[in-house]
């Protein structure tokens, strides 16, 4: 179990995160917040790249600082900017990272082909990575993070730059591989984690805003999300009065999904979704 115990991170006078308290047990956690909210900082503290200014992070009740390299051996990490050696093929790269992880040659020989199969890269295992697409590189990144079967998997914006097909593939890979370990995925794309995360963690104003299941978070907007058809001539005035979360073009107007606390004539109440909550909670950041 990973415990983030009243952690604050400051850089000089700037506070990036304040009094973060979380307990993570095996399962998939989606860390959802707009860019610049402190997702990467939190992840960097979990993977020991930077230390909390106040508070501590504990693994099974023991501060990770005391565990040192033993803790690092339990962590698989995919950084936001995943670096790789262009001249290496995926097999060589995984061997290299596996060696740094202290995995024996025999274990690597066993694990690498299996992992490459799982991320659908086995057929190109001998191909230089400089010839790979963004999606393929990201899959190498996921494979390297999974080397050594880590207890904690930290993936920082793993779907950034991927096309919808690759993102769907990524979700299916992750669902398969996320058993019996803590998986923490940061993203600002709601659809990437809505269906696979057991819990969603939302950061707002440097603090945890929500750390709950999707249905629980969505309840916060129960009775406030509506859909209706708005004719073109009324659209501008309507948009200025309500928080629109999505819109679909129709003949002579638009089908609009919006959030409001006051009843609107002709609008039909719909069940709130995570994206509605995200857009509602971060409306200031989104509008900026």
């Amino acid at each position: 179990m990973l415990t983030i115990d009243h952690v604050t991170k400051s850089y000089g006078s700037f506070t990036a995160l304040e009094d973060i308290q979380l307990t993570l047990s095996p399962g998939v956690y989606g860390l959802l917040a707009p860019n610049g909210a402190g997702k990467t900082t939190l992840m960097q503290m979990i993977v020991t790249l930077t230390r909390p200014t106040v508070g501590e992070i504990l693994w099974d009740g023991v501060p990770i600082e005391a565990l040192g390299s033993e803790y690092r051996a339990r962590v698989g990490y995919l950084p936001q900017q995943f670096g790789f050696y262009k001249q290496y093929n995926p097999e060589q790269f995984l061997h290299y990272i596996g060696t740094l992880k202290g995995i024996s040659k025999a274990q690597l020989r066993e694990q690498i082909p299996t992992l490459l199969e799982e991320v659908a890269l086995f057929d190109v295992r001998k191909k230089k990575m400089k010839q790979f697409s963004g999606g393929m590189i990201q899959r190498v990144g996921i494979a390297q993070a999974l080397l050594g079967q880590p207890d904690i998997l930290v993936l920082d914006e793993p779907t950034a730059g991927l096309d919808p097909k690759e993102r769907a593939r990524f979700r299916s890979i992750l669902t398969k591989l996320a058993r019996n370990r803590i998986v923490l995925i940061s993203t600002h794309i709601v659809s990437d984690i809505e269906s696979i995360a057991n819990e969603i963690i939302m950061i707002q104003n440097k603090r945890i805003r929500y750390a709950h299941t999707v249905p629980h978070i969505c309840q916060s907007l129960q009775g406030q999300v509506f859909e209706m058809f708005v004719p073109d001539d009324r659209y501008l005035s309507f948009a200025s009065e309500h928080l629109i979360v999505s819109e679909r073009q129709q003949t002579g107007g638009m089908d609009i999904r919006f959030i409001t606390t006051h009843p609107v004539q002709g609008a039909q109440e719909v069940p709130p979704q995570l994206e509605d909550v995200f857009l509602f909670e971060y409306r200031d950041e989104v509008e900026r």
């Binding site: 993977v47 790249l49 930077t50 990770i64 390299s69 803790y71 060696t99």
Partner: protein, 248 residues
């Protein structure tokens, strides 16, 4: 005036957990030598190919130096030998910089600092082995020249030592920059520059060394090596213990 804030004492549960961890789970801390041995056993040979080119070129240059200068070691170095003596440390420094640049370019630094053995530890282990090899060759060269030929001239010893110290200092400098310990960087470069300045002031090419002076020179090198080893392993121990953060 700001009020004194109360000292945040740990809860009883926290204290119990810490005691349990110390008594039952905490491993006996490794010594520096044990850590180095572990680093080398687990990763040393497996990643050596990455720096193979440094070893190969250094070895070729050294062999060439010995072959071409062995007979005249007691007098003075020919220009070819001199350029090699100056060239080896520079070559070494260039390859280290190249390795570092390659990591920066590839953007793998962040990833390699979160693994069980970090890239800094790997680099330290390789540096220590390389520096040890240089020291062994250096001492052997001194011993061979003293036994087989006449005593080497002060100038040659000075050059050889200069080269070795440059390797030591640059190696350490490189790690310290990697670790952002600026004080050490200044200190090591200070040693090297000071040593060079001292030799330039002496400017005695014809001076012949006595056995005692040769022993002192070797001893000085060994002492520097021990200091180098201690400092490099201290950094490795900090990384091992979890007392070092790449971005702090």
């Amino acid at each position: 005036m700001e009020k004194n804030r109360p000292i945040p004492y740990p809860s009883d549960e926290k204290k119990e957990k810490s005691i349990h961890f110390i008594l039952n789970e905490m491993k006996k801390p490794m010594s520096r030598t044990q850590l180095f041995k572990q680093l080398w056993t687990v990763i040393g040979w497996r990643l050596i190919t990455q720096q193979l080119i440094i070893y190969c070129i250094s070895a070729i240059a050294l062999i060439h130096l010995i072959v071409t200068n062995a007979a005249s070691l007691s007098e003075s170095l020919n220009s070819n030998g001199l350029s090699i003596l100056v060239g080896i440390p520079l070559l070494f420094a260039s390859f280290l910089l190249l390795t570092f640049w390659r990591k920066k370019e590839a953007g793998t630094y962040e990833l390699e600092m979160t693994t069980r053995y970090t890239s800094m530890q790997v680099m330290a282990a390789h540096l220590l082995v390389l520096v040890s090899a240089v020291l062994v060759i250096q001492t052997s060269l001194f011993a061979c020249s003293a036994l087989l030929f006449q005593m080497p001239s002060f100038w040659i010893v000075a050059l050889l030592m200069n080269g070795s110290i440059l390797i030591l200092t640059f190696g350490h400098f490189f790690l310290m920059v990697h670790a952002r310990f600026y004080l050490w960087r200044v200190l090591w470069w200070g040693i090297w520059l000071g040593g060079n300045g001292f030799m330039m002031r002496l400017n005695i090419n014809e001076m012949t060394l006595h056995v005692g002076e040769l022993i002192v020179a070797t001893f000085l090198l060994c002492a520097l090596y021990v200091l180098f080893y201690q400092e490099v392993m201290r950094l490795c121990m900090r990384v091992e213990r979890g007392d070092y953060y790449a971005y702090d």
